[in-house]
Amino acid sequence: MRQFRALLWFAVIAMLVLFMLGPLAIVVVFSFNSGALVSLPLTGFSLDWYRELFSSDEFWAAFRNSLAVAVPTALLATVTGTMTALALTRKSASASVPLLTALSVPIMIPPLVVAIGLVVLYVRWLSIPLGIGAVIGGHLLLTQPLVALVVSARMASFDRVALEAARDLGATPWQAFRYVTLPQIRAALVGAALLAFAISLDEFIITIFTIGSGNTLSTFVWGKMRTSLDPSINAIATLLLVVTIGSTAIALRMTRYRG
């Protein structure tokens, strides 16, 4: 009986894993398959789809746009989100919790509503042209509250007396931040920046509404799926997978995060 239950558990877990990781495995496997159809049997190992992708100017344009959006988004969101969190830690909980919740509203309402609102705001009121800058603005709306939440959580266990001690020992407010606060929240900052980067990289709805013309990787893939379902999409997905896992691994190593 016990053996049967153990077996059942194993089966359930195996199916969960299969269901969640299966599509990823299929994407990776077929990106290296020579056939043009995503169907068995496999026809042979090939790098053709990568070759095709890398020779496509459209791909490189989308790739550059993605970086041009995700890198500034990650940096700006980390700076402003951290400043928000640091400012909030000086307030009492009864003041900081509602403020943080108010700042998090953009994550809680449907992205479609945010996207439409942004377009109206940009075009009608601010006369800001749609494009990369407009996308960054939209992504900041989504990523900055997440950074603020992550950093606030870290600051909750931060010893504020240590900051006063630093000031007392001759540090200016900036030096106290630089030598006492920053080293202790660095891991949280890198984590938050990566989170913002990842969210921005695969964000689709706000991007397609506010980019005007041109593509990022997510809108490029979407466009390709509407016209031709060829395995070079699998190649893009595999690349994104490698970039995300790789950068996370590097960040964890950099921040000496253990467990």
Partner: protein, 358 residues
Amino acid sequence: MRGFESEDPILRLAGLGKRFGHADVVKDIELTIPRGSFTAILGPSGCGKSTLLRMIGGLTLPTSGRIEIDGEDVTYTPPQKRPTNTVFQSHGLFAHMSVHENVAFGLSLAGRPREEISDRVADALKLVRLSGFEGRTVDRLSGGQQQRVALARALVMRPKILLLDEPLSALDLKLRQAMQEELRAIHLDTGGTFIFVTHDQAEAFALGDRLIVMNQGRIEQAGPPGEVYARPRSRFAAEFVGDANFLTGKRNNGRVALDIGVQFDLPGPDGMLNLMLRPEAARLHTAGADSREDGRISVEGVIKEVVDLGPFAQCRFDLGGGHHIEISGIPRTMIGEIAVGSRVSASWPKSALVDVTP
């Protein structure tokens, strides 16, 4: 012991006050602290003593008044530019740094040469008996060791005034006593000016050569500890620095009539009177010993309760009419003679009575 109005003050506070919203946390403090002294600021929690210390260190800005350190106005000088350093109650150590880096922090910010830093850090760690701990991370240290790192980190800066905010309150009794001894030795060694905030009167007496009693944002009394104990100026000061009996009465033409039914001459203004008597100043007289010496006030009463404290005993002495006093410091040899319920006399010198009438 130094006189209270020193010729060479290192710190001068004039009309210093701090208001948070509508609450005056510190009110109109006038105070001078002489160079090289060890001052204990004593008061109940919420009396404004920590706020006063923070204002001296620059961590809290005053809302009124003036702070002078060594003749220089530092009222609005930021903490990093003041010649003061603080040992915090909860240490405030830098958790991501080693012991050496913690102690070296202030000196490296000041841009001192590397050799000087390592020499001075080594000296400071030796002073607090933590030599050999340089490479440890601070979270691997015990509470007492962390306390000593915090002390070394402040001392290494050679502050004109070292501020200590209840630094020992987080430690257990044995460690606290050991640290008190070390603090006294370090004060002698360095010859610096220490200001120490505490709510523990025993600690204030053990450490300070000067005592400031604070209550509700004001200085209740300031002076050498022995003087504050023997001649408190208010009921609050009397009770806060030790145990006290209070005897109420009236004075008319220099003749005092206490409510416990005793009369004697004591010059002063007419009116209601409140006199303080320390429990150890009264003496019990058994077996009809003559208690009517010159200048002593003598009363009759009944022993109500005896507590044997080991070296001494104390008792509750009922004077009738709902009045009673505590008498302590009763020698062991007398314990057998003072049975509960026995009727004896007690006396004290007139000079032991301190007028604390508001």
